[in-house]
Symmetry: D3
Subunit: 285 residues, 6 copies
Amino acid sequence: MSLSPPATATAVDDHGGGKIEAEVQDEAWVWVEIKAEARRDAESEPALASYLYSTILSHSSLARSLAFHLGNKLCSSTLLSTLLYDLFLNTVSADPRLRSATVADLRAARYRDPACISFSHCLLNYKGFLAIQAHRVAHKLWLQNRKPIALALHSRIADVFSVDIHPAARIVVIGETAVVGNNVSILHHVTLGGTGKMGGDRHPKIGDGVLIGVGATILGNVKIGEGAKVGAGSVVLIDVPPRTTAVGNPARLVGGNEQPNVHEDVPGESMDHTSFISQWSDYII
Amino acid sequence: MSLSPPATATAVDDHGGGKIEAEVQDEAWVWVEIKAEARRDAESEPALASYLYSTILSHSSLARSLAFHLGNKLCSSTLLSTLLYDLFLNTVSADPRLRSATVADLRAARYRDPACISFSHCLLNYKGFLAIQAHRVAHKLWLQNRKPIALALHSRIADVFSVDIHPAARIVVIGETAVVGNNVSILHHVTLGGTGKMGGDRHPKIGDGVLIGVGATILGNVKIGEGAKVGAGSVVLIDVPPRTTAVGNPARLVGGNEQPNVHEDVPGESMDHTSFISQWSDYII
Amino acid sequence: MSLSPPATATAVDDHGGGKIEAEVQDEAWVWVEIKAEARRDAESEPALASYLYSTILSHSSLARSLAFHLGNKLCSSTLLSTLLYDLFLNTVSADPRLRSATVADLRAARYRDPACISFSHCLLNYKGFLAIQAHRVAHKLWLQNRKPIALALHSRIADVFSVDIHPAARIVVIGETAVVGNNVSILHHVTLGGTGKMGGDRHPKIGDGVLIGVGATILGNVKIGEGAKVGAGSVVLIDVPPRTTAVGNPARLVGGNEQPNVHEDVPGESMDHTSFISQWSDYII
Amino acid sequence: MSLSPPATATAVDDHGGGKIEAEVQDEAWVWVEIKAEARRDAESEPALASYLYSTILSHSSLARSLAFHLGNKLCSSTLLSTLLYDLFLNTVSADPRLRSATVADLRAARYRDPACISFSHCLLNYKGFLAIQAHRVAHKLWLQNRKPIALALHSRIADVFSVDIHPAARIVVIGETAVVGNNVSILHHVTLGGTGKMGGDRHPKIGDGVLIGVGATILGNVKIGEGAKVGAGSVVLIDVPPRTTAVGNPARLVGGNEQPNVHEDVPGESMDHTSFISQWSDYII
Amino acid sequence: MSLSPPATATAVDDHGGGKIEAEVQDEAWVWVEIKAEARRDAESEPALASYLYSTILSHSSLARSLAFHLGNKLCSSTLLSTLLYDLFLNTVSADPRLRSATVADLRAARYRDPACISFSHCLLNYKGFLAIQAHRVAHKLWLQNRKPIALALHSRIADVFSVDIHPAARIVVIGETAVVGNNVSILHHVTLGGTGKMGGDRHPKIGDGVLIGVGATILGNVKIGEGAKVGAGSVVLIDVPPRTTAVGNPARLVGGNEQPNVHEDVPGESMDHTSFISQWSDYII
Amino acid sequence: MSLSPPATATAVDDHGGGKIEAEVQDEAWVWVEIKAEARRDAESEPALASYLYSTILSHSSLARSLAFHLGNKLCSSTLLSTLLYDLFLNTVSADPRLRSATVADLRAARYRDPACISFSHCLLNYKGFLAIQAHRVAHKLWLQNRKPIALALHSRIADVFSVDIHPAARIVVIGETAVVGNNVSILHHVTLGGTGKMGGDRHPKIGDGVLIGVGATILGNVKIGEGAKVGAGSVVLIDVPPRTTAVGNPARLVGGNEQPNVHEDVPGESMDHTSFISQWSDYII
């Protein structure tokens, strides 16, 4: 299966209107792919077909499918699925940038992660992907000063996905020309939280193309520069410069704070968790 | 909003009876605050009002609200919410010290954590807070030799809150005069477990004022001294002396085992996760 | 309570048919024990009796009890418990080796872990145990090229048990004569995942008798040799030779990569998480 | 099994205090019987044991068991079981007459209806019995002018039990000496409703010892006199004098309005639905 | 509380555009009333507030509130609430006549039925009202030849509301000028079904202003003329001329088939179930 | 679509072994038809596909599909779907006559009732059909003296389907040669119950080919002869001879008790509810 929409769609990117148009085409193309995948899986695996129809094939758009799936994942006996479905659908419908970000996330996972065998697999099963989509809605509600509901959503995201991102945390830095480059990969058991008891801006800022490994914890008002890499299980309490790697607990920069090694790839794309190992050979006790 | 009950309440603390009376007043005051917060949030956010009424505003006491919320959070298809609600309510009703501890926890979170924008936010959404309230009930059942139900509760707490505290673990050391000082802060993804295959007392003891960071693991019959600090993601296998900091995996004391640095604040109160960083500068590879 | 079936059962092990017969007897003996435990607990704790009857005492075999319990644990509003129950029951019924493995896991937990006060406690409450039973089914479906349903199951296991084992990961190396020695212990918050964006065999292989501690992460196509030990919270990116210990983040071998210390016990049996501490004394900063 | 408590209990009935004491003893005696029945059934039918423990055997009193069962029967996704449980328990705890009425209903069903093989069978499975217990609570809330919640309860009773009794309807006429004689039997698919669009008292009044057959409908401010009988499927729009029978649609009195036949038994006790048949022989067309 | 919108709204009815405008105003006015009632009830009855917020006060329109409530009432483990919510919302949004009919039904119930103490009471609790709203959607799907989903909906309506209206049945005859007069009242336990095994049009047609009593059954291709009345529990197998009354089983016309009595009121409005009684005095056996 | 299996199947009916073989073929043929219908509906109506896959298309046999559907329909928070699924599946698997009866019921509904547009429609949506399948299991449990679970099942059938058939009632009289003729049609709101307070055999016996209309009530130890017809809403307290019709409340025989009219068709097949009307013309008052 090809991983790109038809060339005509990617070509048009010269101005704002064209970009939005291209994104709309992109969203439509990905949605067509997802439905084709789900239909194929439903045919080959009848035991899963009910799940695939209710989550994907019965919906008329990606936004509806995602809102439905998140509503059913995050609901509880006191927060009904229908209420959450409405909340997600209304927020996403009002903001095409949220929909573009979802498409970019899906493409990133599909392209970079060999374990991701299809778009639909990511849409249905990736905790990191689902947690970030829900976080974006919570973050938007937070910025609209609807803090109580943003925090309730945050609490459910943490309960269900074991991914704890404070709604005040800014995950994505979308510059004018950076939408496509918005390639953050956040795996599960990740915490982006505040620290200390002072008020003010106390939450992490995560740049483009960052890879945050399984179980990593990033605390406080620190910046993870674009293209940086945070190792699995690391606890990051300091800024990580662009295109460097932080590993360990507490996390240290590979190459040291003064002269950290700079890598060339975009780890959020390469999903390469282990290339720094050679530099650690002297670290073995 | 003021963070203390009226002066008349805090003044009375000279004898046992006065203390209990003051605590009852304290509980009542916190409950009044919580209801006022919930009412204000329900008005500003109708989408959340149903949740706030069912969890807080329809109840006649803090104990009932908490028992209801925990019952609905921890229930499953084989452990009904009504059964758990009864279990929590009966245990808490029979022991005023459990209720005092809840109030102390709420005040601690509200006072120390700038991310905690209200008592009700803590009551509804803080996994650490909720896990500890449920653990206290499980611990009490364990001490009454009702082990099977204590372990079933423990299993649900771990499933739902990703906080794994063995029911035999003693979290709080409540001395004769130390109830108010009972300021342990336990964040999420924390494990307090046993180790080895010998029987006997194999579980951690956590002193007053301790701060246990996100994702920390404390294993075996170790003592975390009063006012100590355990860094996020740390794995603690040794005793941590009072007012020292243990970080890393496996955790080491900041300043070394022989002469650990002693800090002056109560980290469970200051919630300062990062002040040890300067001492780690030489640790960068 | 004795931990072994009657001698007659263990004695017969001289040929294939005898082994299977012995295993069937073993399964029957464990099931009798489990029912006796559950009956005793139900009598002493009426509040838990409903749970014990629905999960254990109403079933006619261990396989049915486990399929029922996993179906109810892992179900969601879009993946019904009855569907999962059928999936587990059909897969397990068709493969006696899955049933033997379950019995071996139960005996291992019961024998090695002093916190495991009964077989039924493990069956009902141990996240690691439950996650591995469900993983074995997911792994089998993966090998049958039923990938979409294997991944959906994997997603639910990760959501509910906070144990993330890719369905392609091989946990157990069951040699011709090694069934009983199949003593891997995997605690909660464990991740066994792939790394990098290349295809091919990218997942961990875990040998017999391995102990994987709380919150450990093992990434990529690495081998954890038989009898090895992975410390709590460790992040393992390299092969771990047989009977050695890997600890820390990133994990290093105790004794160093060149001459790792070799221990004599089978840590998956001894459950000894901490004996390497003495070797770390110089590691304190 | 005997159907009466020990003689000592029934003997004391000479004054108010004695009566209440006797009733308390009566309640305790019935509850002991119910638990014995449930224990016996759980032993002989493991598949039902979970149900029997959760509904009966895990509770400390009949009132708690009934509140639990009704809460779980009548709950919906927007009216939680825990909320209803609380509502039933609080209302019943505050009024010993509601508890006496429940005991009287249980004894009546057990004594009169040969299909009622045990108290516990009635408590768990009889729609008429359960609907009346819930109606009594709704009626009490109505009298306290808590109309919205009384009507919400009424709606759920009608949905779940197909028994439609307006909360304003007075089912039982409990005179000073008539508590034990309060033997109304209402089967399922029964409607007691208002008629017309005038306000005022528009609902039926049902006297002691009345038997209302399956599917009967009684509309408007009519009186069903003590000991009267309403045939299955009858539609009653007129007063029914004491100890007479009304049958058919629209219901007519057996023997005619002027000289209705008067029977001697208490049909709510004899449960005799068919003795009037001989008088209808000329009715065959 | 007044039962009409401000005069300005009802005055504009001279042409099509004006009528739709007036209806939109009418819908808005009723919705404002419903929210005011629900807010008042939530304040006076905190135990019901959660229910009122989730079903009414959190929604932005009557259509959304109704779709939410029906979705939660009619859902099952295999037909999710979110799916039904979408189905109702999409169907109703596309057809303003369905919304007008809902408003007319609410006003009719509120105006005619003294038991209906508020619009919100009808919206939340009236089985007949809710069943007809759901039936209209099922009927529309039937006409669009989406028979399988129409029948699935029909099955759920019958299960939950005990009102059985075949989706092919036409309940309302809306003439050009008859929208407001569309005053059918259908109480619970009503069946409108087909008969015989021939195909073709086999279902009832119910005219304007008809009152169908509790438990009535109307079978086959019969016409219930405008303003007719069908007694509670009646079984109607023949046409009922306009403004006549059919009662009994099998139903006969009051006054006889040849010269049925003609009444002047609109029984669907007067809700008078019993005025025919005087004519039945000679019917007593 | 043809309504019969291929001729080869129906031809073999000469001896016992052949009959069973033919029935197995019949069951297989109906199941193939049902799956084809469900597949066609799922394609044309994606919103229903999830429901059709979970209830029909994911199952390997009709018995499994029916057990799954009944388990999900009849479950409650205290009687889990998995438990009921097991109970239905085990009972039906052990008795091929139950499976034959299901197939006969499906064919009867499909052949006789023009409203029944497909086998799958009957299987999923017909309350009467579903209630009878569940009743057969309850009746079998009753005969095995498993009365408590038979009564619990009876209670759920009455709650959910509004069809009340006492588990002691014998619905079908299956003679040696009468399996195919076993054509009872029971519509919804039907009650088959006992009467009086004497013990002994107090329940109805329903012969072959009987049609019982909507809302009918049959009470006591009466016989409804083969091919008899009971009108909608009728209340039957007397025996109904073969091939006669009983209507009204209380039910009378058409033609009178002495010389009841005998019809020639099998009403349970013709589904003709109304042919007796002409004989009632003089009955109009």
